[in-house]
């Protein structure tokens, strides 16, 4: 249940994230795709997608879709003050075949989580936004 207050907050977040660097990531989200980059120069994959390769700093990068599979590297949970203290499960997920972890919410109770657990990308809608939320495989 989104309250009026949290709607204002989400709108602010949306406006803000539009301004930020991860435009490619946002574009992917709108299509329910997890976008990453492949560097043609050093042949590595990176997340989050950038307009250059963070390892060799060349601009020889292309956007590719990641299958959305990964393993939980670490996890925790915290009460969400904007929805009456409901706990949110958070995890760092090692994305398969990529140099990069994603910080994400997970659609599972904290008690159901374990390190190394296999998860896949899922998506939540809030206001006019699509937000990544991984789920157990």
């Amino acid at each position: 249940m989104i309250t009026t207050e949290s709607q204002a907050l989400w709108r602010a977040i949306k406006k803000n994230s539009d301004k930020m660097l991860y435009r490619f990531f946002e574009e992917g989200l709108a299509q329910r795709k997890l976008l990453i980059i492949r560097c043609g120069s050093c042949d590595t994959f990176h997340f989050p997608p950038r307009s250059f390769c963070p390892d060799c700093l060349t601009e020889d990068v292309e956007l590719v879709e990641h299958p959305g599979k990964g393993k939980v590297y670490a996890f925790t949970s915290m009460a969400d003050q904007s929805s009456g203290g409901k706990p949110i499960t958070y995890a760092m997920v090692d994305l398969e075949g990529v140099e990069g972890r994603i910080f994400t919410m997970v659609e599972a109770a904290y008690e159901e989580m374990s390190i190394g657990m296999e998860v896949e990308a899922g998506y939540l809608e809030k206001e006019d936004m699509v937000i990544p939320c991984f789920k157990p495989v």
Binding site: N16, M78, Y110
Partner: protein, 397 residues
């Protein structure tokens, strides 16, 4: 910083650490500066530089040109002026910058100020939520912000989870640290929390973000501190007890908050900064007598001890339990009460650490005095420990 060109700390002052301090940024910064200048014995005209941290962590109102405004407020004419921002280690970086300027011979003295006051909400959601979202996305990152992240705690929790897993550390092993820090703080009139607590209080406190419980967290505090640095010649002319900066180290990892690769249960920058500081000062670990360490959470503080080599990996909890880091232990750490009990106003924290170590080295820490220390260490960090500064201070004979 070299034995021949060392920089001394000739004056300092701090406010008590509290949940709220009723003051404006400019006045608080000015008053604590005036007190620090007074304690140094220098006159206002002799202060040649003014460095300050941003207006509190996450403040967004009137955040520009703070240092020049303060100089105008105090009618202070200088040769070096600036606002330094690098998260929780801002004030430590400012000290290092000031010391470097003095070492080059360009400045003889410099004032460094750290202030932390919480942002004031204006009551207008359009403004307040934009600011909150700005802060969240700007500080942690837009993806993290999308996931409703409002603070760094989940990152710390997950890093601590990895460390606990790697070394089979049980929550019961961590609980003695908050108890010890609180015990130290009962002897510190500047501390925010001074009522003693026991192991069960820690273990039964609310689980905030597993594995971190409430009593393992620092409070979000307000406070201010200022220090006056001077060249060795100036310090000598002023007379009195002299504390010099004997060495320093600084290191930053190529990550922001939770590392996107590598071992998430380690803080390599802390290890690198400490190693550089020991080498730069020409001291070994066993020479150190006292330390003030930056630990926003109990488990993270213990991880910092290990990164700096104080104890072997996985053994910091046992060392604390055995009393090695207590006021009467072989290596007292955080005699001030640390971030957990002294309180944690990030903008000022590195200076509060420095002031505690100076008090200890000067033998002026009263009930908290840990013998007659000669060498002391302070450490500060930014992000979820993606960068760190280590300074080694020495009491000169």
């Amino acid at each position: 910083m070299g034995r021949d060109r060392n920089v001394c700390i000739v004056g300092y002052a701090q406010t008590p650490v509290k949940k709220f301090i009723k003051a404006t940024f400019l006045d608080l910064a000015a008053r604590v500066s005036i007190e620090a200048i007074r304690s140094s014995g220098l006159s206002k005209k002799e202060i040649q530089g003014l460095l300050i941290t941003q207006e509190g962590f996450g403040n967004f109102v009137n955040a520009q040109l703070f240092a020049p405004r303060l100089a105008g407020h105090m009618r202070l004419e200088t040769k070096f002026l600036g606002t330094f921002e690098c998260g929780g280690m801002s004030a430590a970086v400012a000290v290092k910058m000031a010391a470097t300027e003095i070492m080059t011979g360009r400045l003889d003295t410099c004032l460094v100020i750290g202030v932390e006051l919480k942002p004031e909400l204006l009551g207008d959601p359009a403004f307040d939520y934009t600011s909150l979202a700005d802060r969240s996305a700007g500080t942690y990152g837009p993806i993290e912000s999308l996931s409703n992240l409002r603070g760094p705690l989940p990152f710390y929790a997950m890093s601590q989870q990895r460390w606990m897993m790697d070394h089979q550390i049980h929550p019961r092993d961590i609980a003695p640290l908050p108890v010890l820090l609180r015990k130290n703080a009962t002897k510190n009139p500047m501390a925010q929390f001074r009522d003693p607590i026991g192991l069960e209080d820690v273990l039964n406190s609310r689980m905030v973000c597993p594995p971190i419980r409430l009593f393992e967290c620092c409070p979000q505090s307000e406070g201010a501190a200022a220090v006056v640095l001077a060249s060795h010649d100036v310090a000598k002319a002023l007379g009195g007890k002299r504390i010099s900066i004997r060495g320093h180290g600084e290191a930053h990892d190529s990550t922001h908050y939770f590392p996107d690769r590598g071992d998430g249960g380690r803080f390599p920058c802390v290890e690198r900064a400490a190693r550089e500081a020991y080498e730069n000062a020409g001291v070994s670990l066993k020479d150190l007598d006292v330390a003030e360490v930056y630990g926003a959470f109990a488990g993270i503080e213990l991880m910092n001890y290990e990164e700096m080599g104080f104890f072997k990996r996985g053994q910091a909890p046992g060392a604390v339990q055995e009393g090695k880091t207590a006021l009467d232990g072989e290596f007292p750490i955080n005699p001030s009460g640390g971030r957990l009990s002294l309180g944690h106003p990030p903008g000022a924290t590195p200076l509060l650490e420095l002031i505690e170590v100076c008090n200890q080295l000067r033998g002026e820490a009263q009930e908290r005095q840990v013998g007659e220390p000669v060498l002391g260490l302070i450490q500060a960090e930014h992000g979820m420990i993606n960068g760190s500064v280590v300074l080694i201070l020495e009491r000169e004979e």
